[in-house]
Amino acid sequence: MSNTGIGARVARLEDQRFITGAGKYTDDVNVAGQTYAAFARSEHAHATVKSVDSKAALAVPGVIAVFTGADLEKDAIGPLPAGWMIHSKDGSPMNAPGHPCLVQGKARYVGDPVAVVIGESLAAARAGAEALAIDYDVHEAVTDPAKARSSATQLHDSAPKNTCYEWELGDKAATAAAFKSAKHVTKLSLSNNRLVPNPMEPRSALGNYDAGTDSFTLYTTSQNPHVARLVMSAFLNVAPEHKLRVIAPDVGGGFGSKIYVYPEEVVCTWASKKVGRPIKWTADRTEAFITDAHGRDHVTNAEIAMDERGKILGLKVHTTANLGGYPSLFATCVPTYLYATLLSGQYDIPAIYAEVDAVYTNTVPVDAYRGAGRPEATFLVERIVEIASREMGIDPATFRKRNFIKKFPHQTPVIMNYDAGDYAASLNKACELIDYKGFGKRRREAARRGKLRGIGFSCYIEACGIAPSAAVGSLGAGVGLWESAEVRVNPTGNVEILTGSHSHGQGHETTFAQLVSDRLGIGIDQVTIVHGDTDKVQFGMGTYGSRSGAVGMTAISKALDKVEAKAKKIAAHLLEASESDIEFKDGAFSVSGTDKKVTFPEVSLNAYVAHKFPSDEIEPGLKEGAFHDPSNFTFPAGCHICEIEIDPETGVCEIADWVAVDDFGNVINPMIVEGQVHGGIAQGVGQALMEGVSYDSSGQLMTGSFMDYCMPRADNLPSFKVDTTVTPCPSNPLGIKGCGEAGAIASPPAVINAITDAIGHENITMPATPQVVWQAARQGAARAAE
């Protein structure tokens, strides 16, 4: 292993510019003649917009124009579509009304954009937005997903009972039969709390129409600029693809929320032609809270059936998933194919049956958020397994091991075919690292200090490297999920990698360069990673679902194979040897058995000089591209164990210890992987203990700022003990699985299992704030006293 190659702990190349303020984000981009957009948003969760009077707004000095939904309609700018078809159990297609970029008829959540005001300055635009007279006819709102289907309030005429679909997966009869033969059944009702993604950089867009070329440029905070361009072109009619350039420069975090196309970027692009000036919009944090797609929000009832030894026989699940006011771009697949397909967890469960009802409510649309469906599945599986083991009086580690899948490949009853793993290895290692045997002693010691100490396990699995295209296509995806790469070798031997994936915190500029360094034997400083610009980079699918390593880097690897093959041909001519005798190692081509060699930069130069090989045999140049569509998802898995100490007087939970043993397959950069695990755990701890969206019954967001929405902070977290086990992924040549979401997927049940272990009962909800835990601890003490 070289010091910059695969497996090396290379410091992130991009961090220098990020931490010195030299990053260039969308809001840092300014173009001549730029104007500013301010959106007037519905203050009501459910209301018909009767009229928008813009007279006073247009009279505000510096206001250039006002547009409403009617203007979009006139130009046939379509609504935001749902990109994944789900069919209900009766075979009918989902009810997925589009989301107009400016309200046409009804506003369906607080924050739904009603009109846009374009101004010479941000202050003028905002003053104009405040001066708009919007006349509403306010309707009753429904915000609770559990009440949506029976509510008298109807959001969309085309979605009776506020229902998008009633979907099912698995074998109902076989599962019923499994429950009939069971010796023990454990039941669990839970809600998976709604979260606000809160990337550090708020969303931003700068639309610019060029009359000379009749084309648009959009700078935007996107995780997948090509997909944004495709959607805006094919579905929204903003501009043909070849007349629309989408650039996503440095992006400060996404966590899923920047996958989707949002009204603001569409409006800024479209309106830039109407006013003949570039238009910029940047969300403030308040706007982010009420417009960025939220995450999670499930209400679930589940039952698990065991035989007398604790062997799991079957699992039954019913989930109501809250989609919010409209189906966001990938929202419909999150509580179905990214959720129910993972309900087997790490366990050999012969029969599973899941039903999912997706409903509309007067809340911000919900879509994929770090983990997307898999945290919800893991929370359910790891909670119910833990409770089952406790009810049956079996040690939770033993119970899990008894039920682990041990032979691979393993076909679950819910579509997924797990390709490789060793679940006992990660559980055993985690038990060792946390000193599971010594827990009783630590608990007694804590009790002497008046603290309740508990331990919680989470043995998670996820499907990531989101692809393969044929598989997702058969499940309803509107797009393929391959990835692309191009390797451009310059005459002097340095290399530009054009990737269809997009880095917004993941460190691609470093890890991808490590792959190239490893393969071509050149320094990582000789490699540039180019992404995020549809004019520079070939079509690509972007970054989400922990896919950029497994899918994106494999595409790069395939392109590098082609570069190496061609370079070998050229080297053979330079060395006057047969191509079959050329070996490539450590950055040099040599003739086997001789000391004749030529370096990679020399070959690169000769590829472009093109004097020394026959052009009828070899084309000049050294540039190769590849598209990679994998044969399967990848299946990272592992075990997290959390120890918590509760102050029963106040309900404050302190995380006393945390061990994470993950199997991500082969690891490119252990330091970046650890960083991803740390950040993921922090987000999962946030969900478990702190974060939770609260709406009042009229649909007003009660947690609309950091004063009320609690984000995890450094002092809430311990120093994590992070380790790995390795079973290489068989479906890609690098053997990598993906690590971006694992921490967020694994951690919530570990926390809640530790709390419930400490308080002695299972009745607790997320976020387990001090108040919630105090009440639960009192209940626990009362039960113990009985």
Binding site: T650, M690, T703, F706, M707, Y709, Q771, Q775
Partner: protein, 262 residues
């Protein structure tokens, strides 16, 4: 933020006269006012920045009384050797307000003039029996904090300094709101001779004293003396972070912890 005029007078008199016209606001540290203006929830037509007035600065011990100038930043109070020596609980309280940015800008005068129901300083002023000195008069802390975001200050009246009599023992126990880290419940206790004070912030609409606790502690200043004494939940705040019952419970817990630490 809307447009406003900015003044930076160098004397209390000038500041006071500037405030006579229009909808002017004094800017002491701005840690509440400026975010409110940025959100367009407040639109004063003028800000009168008090940072240029020498007479509002300074921390000194005069006999058995600690004088803290109204424009003393939280960070100044937290790190002051004088305060740390005289009333360590007050220095600790100041050092736990908000975050480093807030402590570098926010002032004691601004905090108590705003009288946020979850702010820390009102608990210290009431819990230590402080006297608030203005350009017009002296007001005892007992009379100063009148209601939620309301004080005894009149239009144009400027706090110049706060006088803290030195206690024999004192401590502040704060239970953070997990999100904002304001006090969900904060209890300041002090003992000076036979005078015991228990002041509670965060729990109710305005900082308040708990007479039953003070009586019990004046007999014996020990955490155990508070056993069985609770505050009525009925008068306390209830919101998404904490019910009134939970707050009432925390008042007891924090009071005991404060006494134990004093």
């Amino acid at each position: 933020m809307y447009e406003f005029a900015y003044h930076r007078p160098n004397s209390i008199r000038k500041a006071s006269s500037l405030s006579a016209s229009g909808e002017a606001k004094f800017l002491a540290g701005g840690q509440t006012l400026l975010p409110t203006m940025k959100q367009r929830l407040a639109s004063p037509d003028a800000l009168i920045d008090l940072a240029g007035i020498e007479a509002l600065q300074g921390i000194e011990l005069k006999g058995r009384t600690l004088h803290i100038g109204a424009m003393s930043r939280h960070a100044d109070v937290a790190s002051s050797a004088v305060v740390r020596e005289a009333i360590p609980a007050l220095a600790a309280l100041a050092g736990d307000i908000g975050d480093p940015h807030v402590r570098a800008m926010g002032t004691i005068g601004g905090s108590i003039a705003n009288n946020d129901p979850a702010a820390d300083y009102p608990a210290a002023c009431l819990g230590l029996g402080a006297t608030i000195v203005t350009n017009k008069r002296r007001i005892s802390a007992d009379d100063f904090f009148t209601d939620m975001f309301e004080t005894a200050l009149e239009e144009g009246e400027i706090i110049t300094k706060v006088l803290f009599p030195l206690p024999r023992r004192s401590a502040y126990a704060k239970f953070d709101n997990p999100a904002s880290r304001y006090a969900l419940v904060g209890v300041f206790v002090s003992k000076r001779g036979r005078d015991v004070r228990v002041a509670v912030t965060g729990a109710g609409p305005c900082v308040f004293r708990v007479a039953a606790m003070e009586d019990a502690l004046s007999k014996r200043f020990a955490a155990k003396s508070l056993d069985g004494i609770s505050v009525a939940a009925g008068d306390l705040n209830s919101d998404i972070h904490a019910s009134a019952d939970y707050r009432a419970h925390l008042v007891g817990v924090m009071a005991r912890r404060a006494v134990a630490a004093a």
